[in-house]
Amino acid sequence: MAKETGIVSWKALELGITILEPGSAGQLKTGDWRSARAVTNFDTCIRCGRCYIFCPDMVYSRNEQGYYEQNYYYCKGCGICAKECPVDAITMVQEGD
């Protein structure tokens, strides 16, 4: 997509519809696809990083203490992290509840 939101004139398209901005997929908000969000209980979390590895988007990032935190801009609510967590520290919480 040339621009996710804007309708662009054919005269304004880049050569070969190339996207010139690196990492522009990061702008794509997948967070509003979600009906349930992943929430981590850091008391039971063992900082193994499986949630980070298995997340199909870019939700998890490691903080200074070594825990993996969610960025809900991207969380689609797929539940893979909750399923993969070896200590059941992640639960899926219904949005709107």
């Binding site: 997509m1 040339a2 309708i7 662009v8 004139s9 054919w10 005269k11 398209l13 880049e14 050569l15 070969g16 519809i17 190339t18 996207i19 010139l20 690196p22 990492g23 522009s24």
Partner: protein, 391 residues
Amino acid sequence: MAKRVGMEVSIAAAEAVALADVDVIAAYPITPQTHVVEHLSELVASGHLDAEFIPVESEHSAMSCCVGSAAAGARTFTSTSSQGYALMAEICYVAASLRLPIVMVTANRALSAPINIWNDHADLMMSRDTGWVQTVAENGQEVVDLIFHAFKVAEDHRVLLPVMVNMDGFILSHMIEPILIPEAEEVRRYLPPYVPKLRLDPEKPVTIGPVGMPDVYTEAKMVHDQVLKGAKDVVVEAWQSFKSQFGREYRCVETYKSEDAETILITMGSISETAMTAIDQLRGAGKKVGLVRIRLWRPFPVEELFDAIKGAKVVAVVDRAMSLNGVCGPVCAEVKSVLYDRGARPYLQNYIAGLGGRDVTVENFIEMADQVAARAQRGDPMGYEIINVRD
């Protein structure tokens, strides 16, 4: 000074690609293109050509490699024929839409079945709507010249599209004839190093080939169509500078004794030379017959073609491919459209000839010219017919 040598046209084509100082060749051998690729691999292996030769496992991979190579900013060449083109076709659309200036020589060959390795224009016509610039050679010299021209056009920043140079399989690819091979320095003057406008570069990342949603796909096709249309001026300009550099002249549409002709034959490719011999004989017999030859197939030279045929009362279009049960053959369809759009309606008959290596002779052209004139006289219904069919 150019050197006049006797050489097989495929070998000359490979030498031309080497003179064009190509960076990457990715190709898979297929009859009758094989000698082009074989000779290039020899030139690379022996150190005569400083390029990457990528042997691939299929034509699909060949064009995919070419897409990557051209996207990285390398001068890129490949070559194929027939079934090889069919396998490659998917990526040919991608190469054009992504605006990658790949040059390909197609040794034109029929498509199976029945299995047939000989010449016709089935592959050329299959590639028609991919959005490539397409030129068609009539002899070995033109194959060489059109290869230099192809790189010049493809890499022009006003174009940046792949270019296909068509040469008739066997009839040209396996012919030994005299060819002027220019000096490397002359070619360098005509064809300076390729300067990409945009390329894959780790220092400055870009995304080539993203998805195009319905809100952009139509615009993408619009820009491709406009660029291809505009490419005609660059094609002509590159032929003009070719003439000042090398002395040989090329036009989108060539004519032969057609100025005062009442009947005009239209051809494309190597049969044009045979047709010229037939025209000489017909003129010798006092018949006002002329020839119009299409050299630029895409972008189609609408105005040039109309100018060349507008005076004719009778026109015979010779197609070397079929559009089975379409209105007529593919070249004829273009000619008819050009005439209809301009309100001209000469008597027009379409002859399908030279399929799968069937020879098209001087006598065949004389018969076509006589027959179309007689048909026009009688007012027979217009249409297409396949010549030289055994009953």
